[in-house]
Symmetry: C2
Subunit: 407 residues, 2 copies
């Protein structure tokens, strides 16, 4: 039996970064950039007007007032998307729309609201400073500049930045495929009827959703029965078609717990079995070639907690994400909780924030089969192995699983 | 010109909850539950063993010690998924696997690690308490109990809970379709070559990604040119196929800003135009029948910020989400910033957390076309309208746009 920290270290040491693929820009949301990106042009590409108004020479407006405006001759009009050969000289102006290139000669734009137009004569109602309302070429990005770094997780603003640079393909780290096998003779599929002794296979569903929220591809392989032949067939199928394989159940002390035997036969290297934690003690972890294999316990909550604490960081690391852990906060515990020493307890809690301080309370009974208290949890409080008593008001570390805004 | 708060209030007042649809369980992740859900059975459905071991009568083990174990006759073995007709009587035990129903007569399970088996006689190496290692029927959910409430945003743990109840279909609020039209003669598509005076259409891409991150369906309709005919055609197409329509550009003071005219002709009711904010001043908002229409400004950052501050909460409210706003924190500002009074400034900032306190610094120049400083931002600091100076060390409100773990 090893400590949770040691288990996590072993897992993360085995993670290899995914290979690189080129995807369409709109498919890259949430992926991690696998290249440094440089601008191959100035953005904006040309000086342009930030306002609808008139391109002018700023010095022409010295002393301009609403009561005694300076008047300029309008040489024409320029819309966004067009270019003009007109040169603005002292005493003249060019009507200009937002985004249109500023014409030669002009060094400022007076916005429409600060003018009065009469035929082809525009009155400027205030003094305008040189450069006012002109966006300079390259003020966003300069040609040759590094604008995004490898390892950036792509969000809407980076997608927009790529678009403005005309990059319709992006190099990203491939999203891993995570195969999921639930094991157990007691399991039936969710729309089958329940016979005595049977329960429904919920782990496939919760795990599939957890994989999806990581941004990885789930591959659900259904239920493997508690015999070597069926378990081996499903595991081989999973290994052939995934980067990470998850099994649930079949890793405990039972006579029909065949997962470990099957993986041993297939040549997988067992890195550890059993972690000093509750829930999730029977957790096992193997490596086979480039594949990571997690033997998750069968209880619904154990499975979900082990995914959160071990599988999720591994998958995010494979994808090239820099921050692979949930936000961890110190929170005030609102119960007395007794436990035996020797195991870390992962406790399902509700998280509240009040005056900048976090408070957590238990969401209900903590049995490893009790999904209801998991479904109410925003966080997992981590109670250290050596503690035997946590008292109301004590501080505990909490991994924030659902942020408030996710509700 | 209205205040940002008033603009938001007007928008949210116009939001109608989406209609309800039934979706497959695995398609419901991130949706909002549109019904209260009751358990139609006990979960677990029967008392069962939490361990691999032996089902026994606890009182048989009184006085049991490793040195002088009590010995019980093993009546047989029961695997998960099976049921047994065996009745455990004093002096006997039934070998049992995790998840198997506890047999009649037994009131505890001793785990395998605490026993020693010799043929059909098991030695129990310690005293076992009544109820130990037995999971009671209904300990997770009781038949008839309300287990999930309308308005719950479905996450992996709720998906698992539905599965355990055998519910393969879920009633949720329909995800809205958000149509996106970029307007402007200056725009070219991202893989076209750039001619003088032209820039690339980045808004369609950043908005599409923002819509996706809300959990809504984006419908990208490309570029509408700055003339009534083309703009009208695209807007009609958008209205016919969406719940929310976004346009970018064409809502300012320019001669070719036709969006307002077209929507007026189509009978849309203009709820407001112009908000006292920077960026995003020309924001406009209409209602037409059940459709909400946002006229977003054309500058890339104005568009994104207006989406964040106005469109996102509206879309989340339509979807039935309870918490529709980003987390707001008070943060220490790390610059001196001068501004004119009369407008709220939305400022792009980098957010750091240190000793439980948030600190924010500007990500770069704040021009409304400067995507680079947007691409580096984790938050939007909200500088009140009446402020003209924020000093280093002052506290400001910050909307957290990207949580640290998103990087």
């Amino acid at each position: 039996m090893i400590e949770p920290k040691e288990a996590l270290r072993i897992i993360l040491d085995e993670v290899k970064l995914q290979s690189v693929e080129k995807v369409n820009l709109m498919d890259s949301l949430g992926y991690v950039l696998a290249e440094d990106v440089f601008s191959d042009m100035d953005i904006p590409p040309f000086d342009n007007s930030a306002m609808d108004g008139f391109a002018i020479i700023a010095s022409d407006t010295v002393g301009s007032l609403r009561e005694s405006p300076k008047k300029l001759t309008v040489l024409g009009s320029l819309r966004a998307g067009d270019v003009s050969n007109v040169k603005v000289v002292s005493g003249s102006a060019l009507k200009i729309m937002t985004g249109a290139p500023t014409p030669a000669g002009a060094d400022a734009v007076v916005k429409k609201e600060d003018t009065f137009l009469n035929d082809n004569e525009v009155s400027v109602l205030s003094e305008i400073k040189k450069g006012e309302n002109i966006r300079l070429a390259g003020e966003d990005m300069i040609k040759g500049e590094k604008v995004l770094s490898i390892g950036t997780c792509l969000k809407p603003q980076q997608i927009g930045l790529f678009a403005s640079l005309g990059k319709s393909k992006v190099k990203v780290f491939k999203t891993p495929t995570v195969a999921i096998i639930s094991t157990g003779d007691e399991l039936v599929e969710i729309d089958e009827s329940l016979k005595p002794g049977k329960i429904r296979n919920s782990n496939t569903y919760s795990l599939t959703a957890q994989v999806m929220l990581c941004g990885a591809n789930p591959l659900s392989l259904g239920i493997a029965r508690d015999n070597v032949a069926d378990t081996k067939k499903k595991i081989e199928l999973g290994l052939d078609n995934s980067d990470v394989l998850l099994t649930t159940g079949g890793v405990s002390m039972g006579d029909y717990d065949v997962v470990k035997d099957v993986l041993g036969d297939l040549g997988a290297e067992l890195k550890f079995w059993k972690v000093a934690q509750k829930p999730g003690m029977p957790l096992a972890f193997w490596r086979l070639d480039d594949k990571l294999i997690f033997g998750l316990p069968g209880n619904p909550v154990s499975t979900m907690v082990c995914f959160e604490e071990y599988v999720r960081p591994a998958v995010l690391k494979m994808m090239g994400r820099k921050l692979i852990f949930r936000s961890e906060v110190n929170a005030v515990f609102e119960h007395d909780l007794k436990k035996k020493s020797g195991r870390v307890f992962f406790v399902r809690v509700n998280v509240r924030r009040k005056n900048g301080e976090f408070y957590v309370s238990l969401t209900g009974p903590q049995g490893s089969g009790i999904l209801k208290s998991m479904s109410l949890a925003d966080g997992i409080a981590v109670i250290p192995s050596d503690k035997t008593l946590i008292k109301t008001g004590d501080k505990v570390k909490v991994h924030l699983v659902n942020l408030p805004e996710d509700h």
